[in-house]
Amino acid sequence: MSPRQRLVLFTVAMAGLAACFAWAVAGLPGFGNYPGPYGPVILHDAVGQTHATGVVSAVNFEYRGFDTVGEEFILFAAAAGLSVVLRRLRDERESRPVDNSNRLPVPDSVRVPALIFTGPTVLIGWWLASHAQTNPSGGFQGGIMLASALILIYLAGEFIAFRRLSPVALLDAVEAVGAGGFAVIGLIALAMGLPYLDNFVPLGTIPGAVSSGGTIPLISFFVGLEVAAAFVAIIGEFGEQTLLVRRS
């Protein structure tokens, strides 16, 4: 198709699809009138059943925990796939850039704050990953925060340090522990004769305490590991592509 034909076909089709969509939306109850029943039932039961005050985390790691298993492994597969696609090829030589610097040309005004913020970012990430059951936080956010800390190191131009902090074999191992650990927690429940991913750890007495929620904080921790390792691996791969010139 020529670009013009394509645009005409697209415009007509999109208009049709938009009309369909409008027809569908007209059947929705309107913004702000969510009818339930899924949400209200969960809101009603969650604190009592899981002792987690962060209901979103309860849904993610408990009610719909199996979705999260799948989602972790999507990230896992993407990171593995990235390593496959960007691996060094048979006919490529690895060489340093001509100007012999392994740094991005980063001004000190970026480098210094970046390095200064690294520590607090790690702390925030850790805190987020370990408080899934109470606050708006959890493994995803914490894991990504941890990865961001490493990005800050990277921003500071210290790619070599970044790589040394996160060698590929270690990342693979952490990813395996993170994603696999989650799956194994589910298996433990199965071994105890419970359904897969059942919450087999005592829930704790006070809803909202750090030790409450049974397996929720545990799963959140593993999710945090997986997310952090996967993102660090992804960014590391791209960084390597950018900073090391490979010639064919």
């Binding site: 198709m1 007209a26 059947g27 009818p35 029943p37 979705d67 799948g70 593995a80 048979r90 359904p195």
Partner: protein, 615 residues
């Protein structure tokens, strides 16, 4: 127990990733991977026979209260467990086949294959629409990465990009549909949504949500006009992966559509006959387009890919008949086709391994030194042509029976003849040197010669790990047909199909004379088409006009352009048309009486228990 087919491969994948530094002990790692998928196949086999009715498994033990599901459910029935089982068997064959196929690779290949398997099983077994999306994406991501497995070749990246972008757009449209239906029903459990839908008159929301939800599945199952990505991806993906793509991934998309229709939207939408006809037209169109493109192809893997598209159309036609017999026929056809198509791809893989090409023109007569592969390839091609007693012939026979329309039967028969005939043309030309050496088409040659580097190791002889899976798959294709001819097995399949559709089983599953005759006619026709293709230049009527396999026709290339922008445009156009047609059906015909049934709270946990057995 139903969770294990998903969880086991995931844990094995994690272990294998961690074991990457141990790549020296490759054989052990290979064994772990192949063993895991074999174990999954066995588990699923047990599940098929343990569940004579659809059984529901609630994750984390959240059983529904007052008919409201709060957790994720797996709904395991014989049909979906069976499909997953076929997938696991093909996965095992592909793993064994790749034993000697790739050398010097890390464990990434196995890791991604295992996550693909987990996604496949999760997709088949789940009873929750969002969970379906999650496993669909896991399968997708693994498949994209595996398609691009050989980035040093020129083609794979292009094919993988088209594959990934088209499928992602489809998946996001599906998610939009899921969000819409959730916004109205407040449920994600399929049975619960189904119950809601059947209690309310069909509205625009339900119709459009259905169209959007199946968008991603239509893309995955390569239904015209959503099919363009498939040939690009197949042509470049590693051969063991093509086995899975053609053998189960396409069929999974169709299964998803059937599941969405029967478990979620169908009972409430009503207008069964009209909607069935829409899908029948789509199926027949796909079958015709696939067969025509198949005929004009010289790149063996692409040719097989187009034959898959053609068969996907036949499967969709089977589903679209909306009767237990049509569905049972489609299910049997899917299984029979999966085994023979997998065998054909493995045969192509052996040819590629030994002769380093998949260009039919170049290969002409060069396959004579591979007598065993040639015989098995030819047998599988005949299986593709519905030769009794391959599983395909009976499946096709049941579809024809259920259709009860000579026009449909003849069109589908013609499509099978042309598609399988093209494959037989390859078999005759490559392995037996029949016919005239074809003229070299320069562009084809250049493209097919790109395909060289899947293997490095010695190619003096075919390793047993390659030929044995091929032989076993051909045998499995035969066994499927023979097993289905046993009346009890056929009836069990039919009653499973009736259960899936929550319909009474109307008639016994018979092996009719007409199905045998149709199968024989089909095989004979395919041989005829194959020979005609080989001796094209000697046939006076055909000579001079057009050469089979030549890519002369510009119009066809303009559709299959390889440009991602075009593919997405077609997806949107197809979706708008489908939405428009379904909307017209619902709006113009009004609410069909009698299409709704009263709803019970017990529907959630186990909707269809009753089936009428044969007296």
């Amino acid at each position: 127990m139903p969770s294990l087919p998903v969880v086991l491969p995931l844990i094995a994948a994690a272990v294998l990733l961690a074991a990457r530094p141990l790549a020296r002990y490759r054989r052990v790692l290979d064994l772990v991977a192949a063993g895991t998928s074999a174990a999954v196949a066995v588990l699923l086999g047990i599940l098929i026979f343990r569940t004579d009715h659809a059984s529901t498994y609630w994750f984390a033990g959240f059983r529904p209260a007052h008919g409201i599901a709060v957790g994720i459910a797996f709904t395991v029935g014989p049909l979906n467990a069976g499909l997953a089982c076929v997938g696991a068997i093909l996965m095992t064959a592909a793993m064994v086949f790749s034993w000697r196929y790739f050398t010097g690779v890390g464990t990434y290949f196995h890791v991604l294959m295992l996550t693909f398997l987990a996604g496949l099983c999760g997709f088949c077994l789940t009873g929750d629409v969002f969970d379906l999306f999650v496993w669909f994406e896991l399968m997708g991501v693994s498949a994209y990465a595996l398609t691009a497995y050989r980035p040093e070749e020129r083609g794979p990246i292009q094919g993988a990009l088209n594959f990934a972008i088209t499928n992602s757009v489809g998946a996001y449209l599906s998610l939009t549909g899921i969000a819409l239906i959730y916004g109205r029903t407040g449920a994600l459990n399929m049975a619960q949504i189904g119950a809601w839908v059947s209690r309310h008159p069909p509205s625009g929301l339900v119709v459009i949500a259905f169209v959007l939800v199946i968008a991603g599945l239509l893309v995955k199952s390569a239904i015209v006009p959503f099919h363009f990505w498939l040939a690009d991806a197949h042509a470049v993906a590693p051969t063991p992966l093509c086995v899975l793509f053609s053998g189960v991934m396409v069929e999974l998309g169709l299964y998803g559509i059937a599941r969405m229709y029967w478990s979620v939207f169908g009972p409430g939408l009503g207008h069964r006959a009209a909607i069935g006809r829409v899908f029948l037209v789509l199926g027949v169109l796909t079958a015709v387009v696939g067969a025509l493109y198949c005929f004009r192809e010289r790149h063996v893997k692409r040719l097989l890919a187009f034959s898959t598209i053609s068969h996907a159309g036949v499967f969709l036609a089977g589903f679209a008949l909306l009767s237990p017999l049509g569905l049972a026929g489609a299910a049997l056809y899917v299984a029979g086709h999966a085994f023979v198509k997998a065998a054909l791809f493995l045969g192509a893989g052996i040819v590629l391994h030994r002769l380093r090409s998949v260009n039919e023109t170049w290969l002409h007569g060069r396959g004579r030194k591979l007598p065993v592969t040639g015989a098995l390839f030819t047998a599988a091609a005949l299986g593709l042509a519905d030769l009794p007693p391959f599983g395909t012939f009976l499946g096709k026979g049941w579809i024809d029976d259920a259709a009860g329309s000579p026009a449909v039967t003849i069109i589908l028969l013609a499509c099978t003849i042309v598609a399988a005939g093209s494959v037989l043309r390859v078999a005759g030309g490559v392995f037996y040197g029949l016919g005239d050496p074809p003229r070299e088409d320069e562009r084809m040659a250049a493209e097919a010669n790109e395909e060289t580097g899947e293997t490095d190791s010695a190619r003096q002889r075919t390793p047993l790990t390659m030929s044995v899976p091929l032989a076993l798959l051909v045998a499995a294709g035969l066994a499927t047909g023979i097993a289905a001819m046993v009346p009890r097995a056929g009836d069990a399949l039919l009653s499973a199909a009736a259960q899936f559709q929550a319909q009474p089983q109307a008639r016994p599953a018979d092996v009719t004379v007409s199905s045998v005759v149709t199968g024989l006619v089909s095989a004979a026709g395919a041989v005829g088409v194959g020979l005609a293709g080989l001796y094209w230049r000697r046939i006076p009527v055909l000579r001079g006009r057009y050469e089979p396999g030549a890519r002369g026709t510009g119009l066809a290339d303009r559709f299959q352009s390889g440009v991602i922008n075009d593919y997405i445009t077609w997806v949107i156009a197809g979706l708008a048309c489908l939405g428009g047609v379904l909307a017209a059906i619902i709006r113009l015909r009004g609410l069909a009486p009698g299409s709704r049934r009263p709803w019970h709270a017990s529907d959630i946990s186990c909707r269809r228990r009753s089936t009428t057995r044969r007296p």
